[in-house]
């Protein structure tokens, strides 16, 4: 191991030999400085003085004190860890209990169990719920008569029954009579090309094709598609009125 003094001697080319002389532990030079006797005396003086001064440090025994202090501190993290673990367990249990109470309180009304149970959840008669009806025009025929009948008997009564019948009849007529013109109209609108010829843009947007026709030309050349739709809606309303008057 390189002692600091050796390193100091190596990296100090400008070390002042007139004063520093030999390092501690080294023997003084027999002729340390020939030109200045006072510096030579100082060198001799310091060599002996530092050696004696350095050796005069009393010896102490600190190991027991430091070790006991270290051991007194050391178990603390374990105790802290244990108490922290207990605290986490307690917190976890309380949170779980709160979650359980919330779940029970917000649970949907469940059927009464045969052996008894929560009175607040009991004593509710079961009501038949209609199965989800498929959507669309064909869905009217697919609705189960059983579920419709159950619905009619339980919830709305005669008014609801009449309304459902009217809607069903109107939908049948619409599918048979009005759906075809509407479909033809839509097919014509989607398949018809743009009647306006493309025109070259002028001005700032040179080089771009103008795809948007002027408004007046749209009104002049395109057929409004609202007319057959309006006829279909009118037809449906008329049928509803006729059914209503017939029923009354």
């Amino acid at each position: 191991m390189t002692r600091p003094h050796d390193a100091y001697a190596e990296d100090s080319p400008d070390r002042t030999p007139e004063f520093f002389g030999p390092l501690p532990g080294e023997s003084p030079s027999p002729c340390p400085l020939e030109s200045d006797d006072s510096d030579a005396n100082a060198e001799l003086m310091m060599t002996g003085a530092i050696a004696e001064w350095k050796a005069a440090v009393p010896r102490v025994a600190l190991a027991d004190r430091v070790l006991s202090q270290w051991q007194a501190e050391r178990p603390r993290p374990q105790r802290v860890a244990a108490s922290t673990r207990l605290r986490w367990i307690a917190w976890g249990a309380s949170v779980a209990a709160c979650v359980a109470v919330l779940i029970v309180a917000t649970w949907p009304q469940s059927p009464v169990q045969p052996g008894g149970g929560n009175p607040s959840l009991a004593a509710r008669p079961m009501q038949p719920t209609p199965s989800p009806a498929p959507s669309g025009v064909d869905a009217v025929d697919r609705v189960s008569p059983v579920s419709i009948a159950a619905n009619e008997s339980v919830e709305a009564g005669s008014v609801t029954t009449a309304l459902v019948g009217d809607v069903r009849a109107a939908m049948r007529d619409l599918t048979s009579e009005a759906a075809a013109p509407v479909a033809d109209l839509l097919a014509m609108a989607w398949s018809k090309p743009n009647p306006l010829p493309t025109t070259e843009a002028t001005g700032e947007r040179r080089g771009w094709k103008l795809t948007a026709p002027p408004l007046e030309r749209i009104n002049a050349d395109w057929k409004p598609i609202t007319r057959p739709l309006g006829a279909a809606v009118d037809f449906l309303l008329d049928r509803l009125d006729a059914e209503e008057h017939g029923a009354s």
């Binding site: 003086m45 430091v66 270290w70």
Partner: protein
Amino acid sequence: VDDERELVRRCLAGDAEAVRELIERFEHCVFGLCFRMLRHRHDAEDVAQISLLRAVRHLGGWDGSRPLQPWILTIAANRCRTHLERRRRLPRPAEQAFDVEATPVPKVEGLADVVDELLGTLREEYRTCFVLHHQSELGLAEIGEILGCPEGTVKTWLFRARKELAEKLRERGWDPLQPDAALPRHPAAPPDRRTESE
């Protein structure tokens, strides 16, 4: 360094015997540094104990590629400087107005005591450099790291410390040719210039 690394590894694993071995290995140099910097035995024991305890506590932060002794001595030197600063700020009651610098050396018995007493008259930077270099055998670069100053500054301070100390010793009339002669603590006579006249 490998031996120190292994020792530190055992200490970090919680081996009490390894901690004891570590303390016993470095307690003398740590106490020597504290004793020379604080110049008060009880204070030096307290600060050395705190420094060693801190070193053991923070062994995980030691860079294993470097020697362990300078690292521990750096902790001790910083604790000593903190203690000196605190001591300087402490108000001293009139009835307890003792000379802290002179307290650990109640009477001069030999050259070591004279050197220690004269060291107390030097500037703190000079004294710290002198103690770290000659008592703790730290290099200039390590002293510079501890004191937060360049290596050249440390070299200059060390040179001036030795120079002033030699001059004060000469003023005390210490004869290097008779190193065993006892020195008066406060010499009434002028410094012995016999060696110079020769």
